[in-house]
Amino acid sequence: MVKSENGSGFMSHRTEDVVLEVSITVNGTAHRSQVEPRTLLVHHLRENLGLTGTHVGCDTGYCGACTVIVDGRAVKSCSMLAVQADGAEVRTVEGVADGDELHPVQEGFWECHGLQCGFCTPGMIMSSVALLESNPDPSEEEIRHGIEGNLCRCTGYHNIVKSVQFAGARMRGEEVSS
């Protein structure tokens, strides 16, 4: 006879009634919120701030669907607590376009068929934006390594690489065609 507790350790045992205040600027808008200390940044973005463009695809930080840019660096928001982002500037997929004008990376994904189901796409776009901001003219190998923290199950990455190449050329002011 075995008495087994279904303890996963994940999200276990409430820190009841403890809430902290965090101030996070998301896509240029300052938000002051009360959160439980255990709240993940991705859940804060999705459930408290209503920014559902950032997705959750795994529990371990491997898939990258939750990638956002925190203070200029691509970060997996499922592996960061909201309280750790206190005082930070966060950019999500909802904030990369300039008004009605798509970001070149968004244009690239549309033009080159860089997405199918679209679920990994927001994270993939944020990683690509961060990559091109730090390396404006990456080689194919640098692109492939630059987005290797983001998993896509639909495209085999073939057209994602082309999308990033398209965006890089556009951002460098080069004539592009695909």
């Binding site: 087994s4 507790e5 279904n6 999200m11 045992h13 529990d59 549309w110 796409t121 199950r153 073939h158």
Partner: protein, 792 residues
């Protein structure tokens, strides 16, 4: 890229994308309902155990927990429904026993998913572990019986095999036996594993149910490929009419077959919502996806090939044990059969099969991209390479020597199916010419002379898809098991709105295949209405025409054809109206530039807006003509379709580490006519990536206690961008005559053609060292070990 306003055969940017690239797409977990509650499941840590008791009291005391449900609460609803109710169906929650690790034992419903998880941690289950059987051969030997003494709808278990499918048609075994005994023949045989895989859509499954008291109806949002079937199942389980169930599949973040099921959680959230009077949501975690959703493949088999030394194949035999898991779901029992449909491949050869479909204490297997066909293609195309090597012939030449020829079509296969069309040698030659096959072989040989291990791997394949003919409903290919007696028809509704724009509603359940774009191309081509004025709707079981869903590479060939036919009927009526308005004969009406005109007189024209305006004001129509401008068509094809293709890979193996580097990958596929080449190429890219993933990286590994050791993406390595090359694609075009579009289907072809292409290449790279076979996935240690073992 050329962006045209139309259409068939043209590259058109996708209509779906502007929303998705801005994070504005709506997936199930993005939907919010006022007052919604969250569910979390308590799951078994044992592969086989008796449940003595479940203590939910501590969980119920936790603030914010609303309910904890166990089998006692839901037993009256019956088992989880499936398309074909054979084998052993799964109880909605484990009832007195668990049969695999991760089986759901209780459901906790609380104010938030965090609190529900806290509650799940407080549910105490008293288990009495028993013996489990995980290994396929042990299961086949009935060392442990998964369902000992239990009965099901067809039979009482006398072992783990639900079905022993020995098919010797048309009685070829004596013929093959005789061939083996001839002096001028060679027989080769290999035992090979086609390992279990976890499909892994990047969006985990998610459901949200809202039971509407008073109406006694329910709205269920589910990340599903088959919203209509889910609606039928929910209606059947709760004993309500199917028109009281609205299942909505919004954006679906990848399917690949794993969302082609009715799952217990879909039923259970409806139940909880009904009980509690609040919307209830459940979203799968990645770790849970290894237990709560189906897995794919899982065969251990022996392929045997006999032929003459000049390459004439005189016999192909396949015997395999196929893993069903602990319960049967939607198509579980049909997957090995689907493999048998294409087991002889492209070849006119005598065949013999024996499949042993056995239960194990593991999660259920079912359709994963390709579904039986990748397994069948793997065994055949691996053994034909081995045979070619044994007789010293080029593997391409052996294949060509045994192909069905174009004039043989339609071909009736040994098990009585009819293959529609094919030109296999032309397809293979197109690939070999494009890549300079002889040059590649010389490059490989030159590298080998320098001690580098380059390998070339070829595979050709034929698959069967586009289901399907209505008569197959008699074999169980229908949603009758879900209470919906509907064959696998296609459906499409085309409506021109009063302002001249167009709405198309379809019965498919896409998960990234670009249906909105492709279907708009079909309609735009037929009516001359620009793409931007056509909206395509899908994924709502009440608002869409009665549909079957998206799976088995069927949507375009079946549902696309229905939409094509509906478009034609709308055009016919519009021509009558335009003729009336323009005082011309309807046969003189031509459609172009967003309207209709009289042939030869472009200024005698009306716009679609004017035609539609008349259509919705019947007093302006010809005497006796019905108002409105729409058509609804149900299409049932006379046959399935049979795409085919040829794939080639160049790899290099590191002799010191066993690491495989995939240098180049070429594919020449043939899916008949193509509507959007960009989308078709994208399907092939993704399909190939999943086949490469099986060949090189992925494997669902269980320990002998039945624990899944690869439940996280840290342990189950999906290929990332750095581990794949770009792919070089081309096509031949052999249309089918089973639908007027001449289209076959492309969703699974890449996966069916690719895994064995990679393994053939790796084995080619090391065969001169004495290696004949290495089981997938070809991770460095395995390859290195095979090289070392061959030295002994």
């Amino acid at each position: 890229m050329t962006t045209s306003t139309s259409v068939m055969g043209g590259i058109v940017r996708r209509k779906e994308d502007p929303s998705l690239i801005q994070g504005k797409g709506t997936y199930v977990d993005d939907v919010k309902r006022a007052g919604e509650l969250a569910a979390v499941f308590v799951r078994s840590p044992f592969a086989a155990a008796k449940i003595n008791s479940i203590d939910v009291s501590a969980a119920l005391e936790l603030e914010g927990v609303h309910a904890v449900y166990t089998a006692d609460d839901v037993r009256h609803l019956g088992p989880n429904p499936a398309q074909v109710a054979v084998g052993t169906l799964r109880p909605l929650l484990a009832d007195g026993a668990v049969k695999h690790v991760g089986e759901a034992v209780a459901m906790v419903v609380a104010d938030s998913r965090y609190i529900a998880q806290d509650g799940a941690d407080l549910v105490f289950v008293d288990y009495e572990p028993g013996d489990a059987v995980i290994d396929l051969k042990e299961a086949h030997a009935d060392k442990v019986q998964v369902h000992e003494g239990e009965s099901n709808t067809l039979l009482t278990w006398a072992g783990n095999a639900w079905w022993e499918g020995v098919i010797d048609l048309p009685d070829p075994s004596p013929e093959i036996q005789a061939a083996k005994e001839r002096d001028d023949t060679v027989t080769v045989s290999l035992e090979m594993v086609n390992q279990r895989l976890i499909p892994t859509a990047i969006e985990p499954r998610a459901v949200l149910a809202d039971w509407r008291g008073g109406y006694e109806s329910v709205e269920l949002w589910s990340s599903s490929q088959i919203p209509h079937a889910v609606a039928g199942a929910v209606a059947g389980v709760f004993g309500i009419p199917s028109n009281k169930v609205r299942v909505i599949a919004p954006e679906v973040g990848g399917g690949f077959g794993l969302k082609l099921n009715v799952y217990p959680d879909e039923i259970l959230v409806c139940f909880a919502s009904k009980q509690l009077g609040r919307p209830v949501r459940w979203t799968e975690t990645r770790r849970e996806a290894g237990f709560a959703s189906i897995q794919g493949r899982g065969w251990v088999g022996t392929a045997t090939m006999t032929g003459t030394k000049d390459g004439k194949i005189l016999g192909y035999e396949l015997e395999a044990i196929c893993d069903m898991g602990a319960y049967t779901h939607n198509f579980t029992v049909a997957i090995p059969l689907l493999g048998l449909f294409v087991a002889p491949g492209q070849y006119d050869i005598p065949t013999s099969y024996a499949l042993h479909c056995v239960m194990t204490n593991t999660p259920t297997t079912d359709a994963y991209r390709g579904a039986g066909r990748p397994e069948a293609a793997y065994y055949l195309e691996r053994i034909i390479d081995d045979f070619a090597r044994e007789i010293g012939m080029d593997p391409a030449d052996v294949r060509k020597a045994n192909y069905w020829k174009p004039e043989d079509f339609p071909v009736t296969t040994a098990i009585g199916l009819t293959m529609d069309s094919g030109d296999y040698a032309t397809n293979l030659d197109a690939l070999l010419d494009r890549v300079d096959y002889e040059g590649l072989k010389a490059k490989r040989d030159a590298a080998r002379a320098e001690g580098r291990l380059l390998g070339l791997g070829l595979s050709t394949y034929v698959e069967v898809c586009g289901f399907g003919p209505s008569a197959l409903a008699g074999l169980g290919f229908s949603w009758a098991g879900y209470g919906l007696p509907t064959a696998f028809n296609g459906s499409g509704v085309v409506r021109v709105q009063p302002d001249g724009t167009c709405t198309v509603t379809i019965g498919t359940g896409p998960s990234g295949q670009g249906h909105e774009t492709t279907w708009a191309q079909i309609v735009s081509d037929g009516l001359g209405i620009p793409m931007e004025n056509i909206e395509v709707q899908h994924g709502d079981s009440l608002d869409s025409p009665m549909g079957v869903g998206t799976f088995g590479s069927r949507s375009l060939a079946v549902d696309g054809t229905a939409t094509y036919e509906a478009t034609g009927r709308v055009r016919e009526k519009a021509a009558k109206i335009a003729g009336h308005l323009l005082e011309a004969a309807e046969q003189d009406i031509q459609f172009a530039d967003g309207g209709a005109h009289v042939a030869g007189s472009p200024d005698r024209a009306v716009t679609w807006g004017q035609i539609a305006e008349a259509a919705y004001q019947p007093h302006t129509l010809p005497e006796g003509m019905e108002g409105g401008l729409e058509s609804s068509v149900v299409f049932s094809p006379p046959n399935a379709t049979w795409p085919f293709g040829s794939h080639l890979a160049l790899v290099e193996v590191d002799p010191d580490t066993g690491d495989v580097k995939l240098l180049e990958y070429w594919a020449t596929d043939d899916c008949g006519n193509v509507i959007n080449p960009m989308i078709v190429d994208g399907q092939v890219h993704g399909g190939i990536a999943q086949g490469i993933a099986q060949a090189l990286f992925e494997e669902a590994i269980y320990d002998d206690m039945g624990n899944l050791l690869t439940a996280s993406l840290a342990d189950y390595p999906l290929p990332d961008a750095a581990s794949l090359p770009s792919f070089s694609l081309d096509r031949t075009v052999t249309p089918t005559d089973v639908n007027p579009l001449g289209v076959k289907g492309i969703g699974e072809a890449g996966t069916i053609g690719s895994a064995q292409t990679i393994v053939n290449a790796v084995v080619d790279a090391v065969s001169h060292l004495g290696v004949r076979h290495i089981d997938m996935p070809l991770r460095p240690k395995r390859v290195w070990q095979a090289i070392e073992d061959a030295k002994e």
